[in-house]
Structures are given as C-alpha cells and as structure tokens.
C-alpha cells in the first residue's frame, strides 16, 4: 500500500483525477450500450439521446486535461504520480474517441431505424458486448492497478478483430447478391468497424495502465507479452 502524500490537497487532486477518468469511462461504456440498443430496437429517441450525451463526454475530456495540466504545472509530479497523470491524459483521448464511436453508431442507428433489416442482429451485439467488456476491464485494471487484468484485455483484442472480419465477409456477400442492400450493409459494416475501433482504444487504455503501474511500455510491440 502506497503511503499518502504529505501534501493532502495534492493527494486529493490526484484522487479527483482518478475519479474523473473513471466517471468518464463509465459514461462512454453506457453510451456504447445505448447506441447498440438503439440500433437493435430501432429506437430513434434513444439514438438521439446517445448523440446528445457526447457533449458530457467531451466536457470530461476538457476537464481532465486541465486538471492534469494544473497538476503538472503546480506540483512537478514524479514517478507514479507523473505516470498517473500522463496516463490520465492519454486514456481520456481514447475514452473521448470511444464516445465518438458510440455517437457514430447512434447516427447509423437513426439512419437504419426506418429501413428493413437485412438480417437479424446477432454478431453486432456480440461484438458490442466484447468491446464493452474490454473497456470495462481496462478501467477496472486502471482503478485496481492490476496489470494481469490489463494484459488480458490486450490479449482479447483478437476476438473482436476476428468477429469484424467475419462480419465483413458476410456483409460483402449480401452486397454482391443484392445491390439494394448496399447502403444498409455499408452502414452495418461501419458499425462493425466502430466496435472494432472501441476494442483498439480499450487495448490502448490497458497498455497505458501497464505503463502506469510498472513504468514499462508494451505499446507497439509485435506481440503482447504473456507476462510482465
């Protein structure tokens, strides 16, 4: 257990930073869930509400940036504190992008709501579940400083990539068979791509958690290490 900072207000501000990152994470996680629900249930209102919420996510992004800058400027943080702050700065960029992905999914949901479905939604909700779980676990790893959990997130990115490829092939075959499906299939393909991107962002977050805890970069390695 790390002892508390001698300067209590500094300790408190670091605590705020952690909490803000988590709140933002919780928000975008919910946003993904809502966007997919809006898509599957053809719910205009929910899709619009999801798009609206992006403003809140963006506000968090700005707030965390300015809190981090303030901490850097006023406290000259070092070691684990420095790594926490740089991690928060990078994580929020990923969270903000995930929020954007949710917004894009909701936009596609609005467009698809009035059209006939080309197929039942099976793989997309599965991908969405995987993506949300990855995000959830990466944020858990952040709170608990759990590098094992973070590593497992990095390892699960392949599953989501695999589903995306499968969906790609399937949707292409729809388009080849019946050109009338092209605009709908393309939109679904976008959704699949957005979810695949969510998985990538969650992986980025997990990699930053490993850096935050261990001070080691595992980003841009050819292979995810089995252990640290």
């Amino acid at each position: 257990m790390t002892p508390l900072h001698t300067d209590r207000s500094y300790e408190q501000q670091l605590g705020h930073l952690r909490t803000a990152v988590l709140e933002m994470g919780g928000l975008v996680e919910e946003q993904i869930g809502q966007a997919i629900k809006a898509l599957v249930e053809r719910d205009h209102a929910l899709a619009r509400a999801t798009i609206e919420r992006d403003h809140t996510v963006n506000r968090f992004d700005v707030e965390i940036d300015s809190l981090s800058l303030k901490l850097l400027a006023l406290h000259q943080p070092a070691a684990r504190d420095l790594r926490l702050i740089t991690t928060a700065l990078k994580i929020t960029t990923d969270l903000e992008r995930i929020g954007d992905m949710a917004t894009h999914i909701a936009e596609r949901a609005v467009e698809l709501a009035d059209e006939l479905p080309i197929k039942p939604y099976i793989d997309i909700p599965r991908m969405a579940d995987l993506a949300r779980q990855m995000l959830h676990r990466s944020l858990d790893a952040f709170v608990r400083e759990d590098t094992e959990l973070a590593l497992s997130v990095c390892a699960s990115d392949d599953a989501i990539d695999h589903l995306h490829e499968q969906l790609f092939r399937e949707l292409v075959s729809f388009m080849v068979e019946d050109p009338k499906t092209v605009s709908r299939a393309m939109r679904l393909l976008f959704v699949s791509k957005y979810l695949e991107r969510v998985g990538d962002h969650a992986t980025n977050i997990a990699e930053m958690v490993i850096f935050m805890v261990k001070g080691r970069q595992i980003r841009h390695l050819d292979k995810v290490p089995r252990e640290l």
Binding site: A79, R80, R83
Partner: protein
C-alpha cells in the same frame, strides 16, 4: 595484464566507492556505501536532512578527515587509486577534487586575487600564466562577461549569484578533475539558480560533477545520475530519468513523489 572487462569498467569510473562506512563518534553516518561515479557526468545526491549525502560528498575529497571522532572505513578510488591510501597528499587530492559550498564564501580580496588564490598556493607565480588561468576560470564559470572590466574590485561587491559563480571559478582555477557541489544554488534566486544550472551543464564536458541538493527538481534538471540516500544507506542509484519516472524502490518512489510518511 588486466582483465579487459575490469579495465573497461574502470575507464567508465572516475570515482569508485566501495563499502564506505563512516561514524561520527558512536553515530553511524554512512553504512557500507558502494557506488561508481562516471567521468564527465553529473551525479546528484538526494535525500532528507541527515541521510548522509553531505557526509558522502565530503568523503570524496577527505573533507571529513578533520572532524573530531570521525571513523572512515572502506575504499574511495580516484582513477583507480585509493585516496585514503598511505602517502596520499590531501592538499593535492583537493586540488584534483574541488568543492563549492552552499554559502558562497569569497575571500575579502579582489575578484582576480580570489581566483588566483589556489594557483598561487600551488606555486604558480608567473603573472602571464596566472592571468590566463583567471580569465579561463571566470569564462568557464560564466562570469567573465560580467566582471572582466573590474577584476580589481572587491569580490564582496558582487551579487550573491555572482559570488557563487566566483567560488566556482576559484575552484576551477586549480584545474580540478572533479567538482563537488554542496547545495550550490540553495541560497540563490531563480535567475541566479538557472545560471548555475546552465553552468553545470556546460562544466560537465570538462569535469566530473557530484552535487548534493535538497531541490529534487534541480536534481532532475541538472543530473545524469541520481543517488537516493536514506538514514545513511544508499537506497537507489541510477539514471536520473529512470529514478524520476519509474524508480525501482518503493522508498525512492515515496521520497521523490513527496510521501514522507
């Protein structure tokens, strides 16, 4: 013939310290410190008051010898030669390993005579050579531009920051190899501090520098290597960048992040 690896390691070490233990009377001040100081690098010693960092610094040019009741065990090697060995002339050692203190302490003499003091003590009488040494030392200490027109003025008329740079020039005038600095900027304003720090960066091309500082940001800014001392022990020693971003030891981490228990 020497083993190649050993020879190589020695060439990367200006000062080698092995199992250095120091007592002041019954009080243990340093406990079995081993550390290598590489040449032409800045090594910063950090740690809370009483941790032994100044004692360690002062052992490197035998400044502790005169302290009553001091006991010094272990080895300190300068270029592989023991400095506590028999027949080592402490005055000559201190010419090779110079020191700059927290409080600038110029002599109540002219600027010129302050810088020329050391070379004169060591027998330099040639006025041309002395003049060269004074000019070169003042230039190395980044003070020449400010004082070249008034070398005969009293050193005590200089500002605090200038006095400290004069003391650095005075230390450089005897052409040392190592410069020990004990909190050289702690009594200076931020501008004078920045000048000293800039100077440290320049000096390391010619000298090996060991600096004690209470200002951790200063250690981070000026040093290549950082050593963290606590209660007379060397807790961690490594590249400054690593110590300040991801130290290996929890104690170091707690100290540099300001978790003082």
């Amino acid at each position: 013939m020497k083993n190649v690896a050993v020879a190589e390691a020695e060439s990367l070490t200006k000062i080698g310290v092995r199992n250095l233990t120091v007592y002041y009377g019954a009080k243990l001040a340093l406990e079995s410190i081993s550390m290598d100081v590489p040449p032409n690098q800045v090594t910063a010693l950090i740690g809370p008051s009483g941790c032994g960092k100044s004692t360690f610094l002062r052992c490197l040019n035998r400044m502790n010898d005169q302290v009553p009741g001091v006991k010094i065990r272990g080895h300190v090697m300068l270029d592989g030669e023991p400095i506590y060995g028999p027949g080592v002339d402490a005055v000559d050692l201190r010419r090779r390993v110079g020191m700059v203190f927290q409080k600038s302490n110029p002599f109540p003499k002219s600027i010129f005579d302050n810088v020329a003091f050391g070379p004169r003590v060591h027998g330099q009488r040639d006025p041309v050579r002395l003049r060269e040494l004074v000019e070169r030392s003042l230039k190395h200490a980044a003070l020449w531009e400010e004082v070249q027109d008034r070398l005969d003025a009293s050193a005590l008329d200089l500002s605090g920051g200038q006095q400290q740079r004069l003391c650095i020039a005075r230390a450089l005038a005897v052409e040392p190899e190592v410069l020990l600095m004990d909190e050289p900027a702690s009594a200076l304003d931020p501008i004078a501090t920045a000048k000293i720090e800039e100077l440290i960066h320049e000096l390391k091309t010619h000298y090996t520098i060991v600096i004690v500082t209470h200002n951790m940001q200063q250690a981070a800014r000026v040093s290549d290597l950082t050593a963290y001392f606590y209660l007379g022990r060397l807790i961690e020693h490594g590249p400054t960048e690593q110590i300040f971003t991801s130290p290996a030891r929890q104690e170091t981490e707690d100290y540099i992040t300001g978790r003082f228990g």
